[in-house]
Symmetry: C2
Subunit: 355 residues, 2 copies
């Protein structure tokens, strides 16, 4: 039994893998593979419709918001957000909380004027800046809700009089959010939604079409909305597996239920990190992510040995990102509490061996 703590693409429920595997051979008793069906078939149109409906239901997306499944990942949204929301000559506000936030800022600067309202670069992004001012004359305020690399998360939705835009790639569907607080939310699928290759965008329709900019059709949200995410051939299989995963989440009881599980998983692991004298967390406690738990050994010499022990115990994907070092345990929705317990056991075993 392996427990996959990888940061993404990442673990999905075993029953999703089973169903997806079956659909590659025979999708919905059509006698055809999900890989060969037309995206214009009524069978796939039903998949796209159900996927959208599940997102709308699980996140309580209000009317006036469109839900899109696009290609290109969050990195494409770093460009599409300013292309679609930042008027010619206008400016946008960004919060700098890590590598991905910085990349979003860099890309927005290529398209228009950008104000960075605050940054935690001074401590290598160990915390979420607070008490900053968001300029009221900016077109939108962008922040990254969870910092996969640095293990921090924004739990309190920023107060903003201008439209909020959030990259929720690594915590969407892990906890309740109030979509009405946002102008636009985007997320690469490959954490809590599905496999790599699809990107979720939830956008308030009334914000679109106001920049005065000529957009390439493919980079313009509006034609994708008009076509129900089928302006061009969608990433069929990634959308299909996302649907299976969203069904799984709904059957579990939805976002409220998974949020409680995620709180317990994160608390279990952070408690051990704080108790175990061999380890320490890297992020400040109040901003610790529930999705990506970053920690290091007190003694650098222990690092490789603990990774070896973890591997022996079937715990994989624990090596930390090079920007932080040490370890990163990504404990997304599909990573079970028994996986977290196995990691805690390994940490305790490691403590016994080394003290």
């Amino acid at each position: 039994m392996k427990h996959n703590f990888g940061a993404g693409p990442c673990i999905l429920p075993q029953e999703v893998f089973q169903e997806a595997s079956q659909a590659v051979l025979n999708f919905n008793d059509t006698g055809l593979s999900i890989l060969e069906i037309s995206h214009r078939s009524k069978e796939f149109e039903a998949v796209m419709a159900e996927t959208e409906r599940l997102v709308r239901e699980l996140l309580s997306v209000p009317t006036g918001y469109s839900i899109l499944f696009l290609q290109g990942g969050a990195s494409t949204q770093f460009a599409m957000v300013p292309l679609n929301l930042l008027p010619e000559g206008g400016k946008a506000a960004y919060l700098d909380t890590g590598t991905w936030a910085s990349k979003a800022i860099k890309e927005a600067k290529k398209i228009g004027d950008v104000t960075v309202v605050a940054s935690s670069a001074d401590t290598n992004y160990t915390y979420i800046p607070k008490n900053y001012d968001v300029p009221t004359d900016a077109a939108y305020f962008h922040y990254t809700s969870n910092n996969t690399i640095f293990g921090t998360e924004v739990f309190e939705t920023p107060q903003s009089s201008i439209p909020l835009v959030s990259d929720m790639s690594s915590d969407i569907l892990s906890r309740k959010i109030n979509v009405a607080d946002y102008g636009l939310i985007y997320a690469g699928a490959q954490k809590n939604m599905g496999p790599a290759g699809a990107t979720l965008v939830i956008v308030k329709d009334e914000l679109l079409g106001k920049t005065g900019r000529t957009l390439s059709t493919i980079f313009d949200y509006q034609p994708h909305i008009a076509a129900g995410s089928m302006y061009n051939t969608p990433p069929v299989f990634s959308v299909y597996v996302s649907m299976l995963n969203l069904r799984w989440l709904k059957n579990k009881g939805g976002v409220e239920v998974i949020e409680q599980e995620n709180i317990i998983k994160a608390r279990t692991l952070y408690d051990e990190i704080d108790r175990n004298p061999l380890f320490k967390g890297t992020a400040v406690k109040e901003d610790r992510s529930r999705m990506n738990v970053t920690f290091v050994t007190e003694d650098k010499a222990h690092e490789a040995a603990f990774l070896d022990l973890a591997k022996e115990r079937g715990l994989i994907g624990l090596k930390g990102h090079r920007s932080v070092g040490g370890f990163r345990a990504s404990i997304y929705n599909a990573l079970s509490i028994s996986g977290v317990n196995a990691l805690v056991d390994a940490m305790q075993e490691f403590e016994e061996k080394n003290s």
Copy 2:
């Protein structure tokens, strides 16, 4: 037994479906699903490397050309090609041979000056224009090698003193090409390469970085080249299945072998269309596509009845695109000669019943 004549996403070899299905459960004996492995794992790096190597080998891609697997389909390339190759203030030349060519032209016009060298719109794109002049002062000359909707194909590579750019989405890997004749080739995967969600780009390196335009990183070929198609999370599963399909093609003997099969399949079907008094082809004979065979009934009243008969015989995806009507039999690499024979049998059966 069903035969899938759909235009794309389309049929792939059964053995590819089998292997892909297995990898969704257990990829390469890792004990992990291909859907949950990190794109930074050595296992996936090997997949990306082999996929690139197979394209290079099967198409004899010379040195000086990079091979990329991107997201977003050909529709994204309609914008990326001019963004990367059309200098500020420069112009590009395009050949208008159908719906997709027209879309490419429309998107290029948003980015720069475009000369349309010739068009077959006058006859609803039943032929490929010839004897046109390509302006020597344009940055590149773009054409669509196979017109999926109208059933025409460009068999003779256009003569051009400026770099040739070709959308080969629906005939790449179906026949031999000389990559050295081109500056850039692109193709959505979902015909002869793999499932939807990946896009192949083959580009001559020396053409890049010369437009004077500030590009969003994600729309710039150069960072993707520098990162070996892993600038951001690639469409892992689509690339993996493409690799399986390219292996299948190599094992069959490569592009030369499949080209001979494709010639026989196309000839068999066109011969029946020309012989059978109930049917007629829509494209002029010399430009008939080997990939997408478009035809109609002489008597419009027969159309629905033939589709019904075909369906009874397990022949699916034959309904023609609304721009042409009638039927379209897409006979891509993985559609067997027995599938073509089954279609010919159905046409003959239909003739007997209706004469």
